[in-house]
Symmetry: C2
Subunit: 399 residues, 2 copies
């Protein structure tokens, strides 16, 4: 007898640790509290003026499909953007426009691994990788990184030990969400060499490419694509770069021709990425350097404010080198309990803070239990208020 | 030794029969030919004025995330739309906003079936179901329907015979793409009863709900949701209804609480549907009846033009009762070869036509080999020109 039962993959999903406390925040707001939302990377920075202007110039009487690979003008703007970064060997044929970085990652996992295969990544990692891997039937193997070491990679031998005949790929996020770590040239190249040696794909989630501080620069895997065309897959997104998280525009990029051909067949089935979204963003290659300079210096100021503030109230932190997150070890036993209490029971001057408990960013049970991820996507004034709330809350909290 | 090989699921994908000839059309256009694109359901009808006006009123300096379930105002407009259709027991909690109907279908298959499970549908069927099923690891079992019977369902016993312990769901598309068939109340209810009896999900792709001609009305499974809350899943889309195919807005609708809860967890991982798209469409509940009346009578006129025109040149057709497609049996051996020849080698008055070969809409090898799907998404004048091109082409073509 058949039973009306959901599939194992959907049954085993759990709520996103980034979004799961959001309903508590709604309740707090209904009680008249101001909730500073530092749980999610949804920036308050203004989008480029050209994007906002484009809205007034939509030229058609309806919103028809775009080509499955992406709108021609949008793809050409993308290749131009990569060219300006120095990667002039990237052509339109190497790019598939996706529904945000999310779809690029889902599609990549679906494409490189069969159900039961393994993909190695470094914990703590972007927690949504779990749901994407679940849907692809892929097992994530996690290599631990440590707050005391700035969450940099352990020696490459530690990674090599985990490779077996089911391993299909290594996935890195650089600059890293949630840790803010920016990997050195040596770290990136050693990992790439390992993948080439063992015939693995290397997947780089580089959606925070521009967000690197202290005058440093990210080492993009785009730089090595010409030399290792078959191994490298880049998952990119416009979301953070231009404060367009809601436009759902990303890209799967590779010189692996078979991969691009086959993912295009899949893209044809789901028809296209948003036509209007692509239209709005099609001038991305004309966004001035000044726009990014301002954005980066604003985030650097926020990073400094948050890092120094957390250190001053005795919280364990390592200075993030990029992205706009910090993982902080709180002086509590269980950060999940603390975060719930903070948003639903505590307030200071009628203000409270919504944070993302970090245990959900770890694969290994027991790791990160006292940690939170804080997104510095609000201005310095909000961050200072949030720090004060956190300081007062920790004085009072007993677990 | 590991090998750098793509997954089986992506390797086995084939190009969409709807989109695969598109590159030949580009070449034809470069040669100066006018190509009438009747291969794809991308309407030329104007979107509601309110949608176009909304573009001028975007109220924010950036494009941030929407809630994962959907923007509150958008969800409320959706429930209002369903209420006006008479389904007042549908609440926000029963709806998940998706990336078009495509994501609703992908997510539904992922949710109701484990890899290796089976879903029954009726051939010819919307060809992209194949790619979605491939990604979910689900096998499609096809029940054949016949052009001579207007592609209506065979007796329900024929369907019952195919149910085994791996069968998880029956999927119907009503009004049907590609056949234009609108199922009777008896057909819908018998199938529903069968699903209830055998503990199967019944998935209804109802994206063409409004497109029903000759004064008839679609029997929506929404009508039975209150009575069979756990079995029924509706995949809906705004694409065709408001000529917004490129906005990528759809909905997964069910009263099955566990399904909605778990798919929301997945939705959280991929963050949200397009924020701007939802903003543009949030007045959908205020689109006047007059808008639809005009659209439907325009499509009815086109349907009549195309149907009569095809019949007059001796092509085997059945009169579509809804949607905006017709499946036509051409007097050729292989419609795939003919469609390629038509767009790349033939022209009449410097015009040619792009059609979708229908064999790709069948699961059973050998069926539909001489058939094409024609979308009547262009105006009557274009349809008349296309009919003339087809008539002249068939006089000349030898296979």
């Amino acid at each position: 007898m058949n039973t009306l039962k959901l599939s194992n993959r959907i049954s085993s999903l759990t709520p996103s640790p980034i979004r799961k406390l959001a309903t508590l925040a709604v309740t707090a707001e209904q009680q008249g509290k101001k909730v500073h939302k530092l749980n999610i990377g949804d920036p308050d920075i203004k989008s480029p003026e050209k994007f906002l202007d484009a809205l007034k110039n939509w030229p058609k009487p309806q919103f028809g499909y775009a080509p499955s690979q992406g709108d021609a003008q949008f793809l050409s703007s993308l290749t131009d953007y990569y060219k300006k970064l120095g990667f002039d060997y990237l052509n339109k044929e190497d790019i598939l426009t996706t529904w945000g970085g999310s779809e690029a990652l889902i599609l990549t996992l679906m494409s490189v691994a069969n159900p039961g295969d393994e993909v190695i990544t470094f914990e703590p990692y972007y927690t949504n990788y779990n749901s994407f891997a679940n849907f692809a039937g892929v097992t994530i193997t996690a290599v631990s990184t440590d707050i005391k070491n700035g969450f940099h990679f352990p020696p490459v031998k530690e990674v090599e030990k985990l490779i077996n005949n089911k391993t299909k790929a290594i996935l890195i996020c650089n600059p890293n969400n949630p840790t803010g770590t920016v990997y050195t040239k040596e770290e990136v190249e050693e990992l790439l060499k390992l993948c080439v040696k063992f015939n693995l794909f290397i997947i780089a989630d580089e959606v925070y490419r521009e967000f690197v501080y202290d005058g440093k620069k990210q080492i993009s895997l785009l730089e090595y694509m010409d030399k290792y065309p078959d191994n490298i897959i880049i998952c990119d997104s416009l979301s953070k770069r231009y404060s367009v998280c809601g436009l759902r525009l990303g890209a799967l990029i590779s010189k692996n021709k078979e991969l691009l051909e086959k993912t295009l067949y899949y893209a044809q089935a789901r028809l296209c990425a948003g036509t209007l979204d692509q239209y709005v963003a099609e001038s991305l290659n004309h966004v001035e350097k000044e726009y990014f300079d301002n954005v980066i210096s604003e985030y650097e100021l926020r990073r400094n404010t948050l890092y120094e503030g957390l250190k001053n109230i005795g919280i364990e932190v390592t200075k993030p080198e990029g992205a706009f997150y910090i993982v902080a070890g709180l002086p509590v036993k269980n950060a999940d309990d603390f975060c719930k209490w903070l948003v639903s029971e505590f307030s200071y001057n009628d203000e409270t803070v919504l944070l993302a408990p970090a245990a959900g960013f770890y694969k290994t049970p027991g790791l990160g239990i006292n940690q939170v991820r804080i997104a510095y996507v609000q201005n310095v004034e909000v961050l200072k208020k949030s720090l004060k709330v956190l300081e007062e809350a920790l004085k009072l909290y007993k677990d």
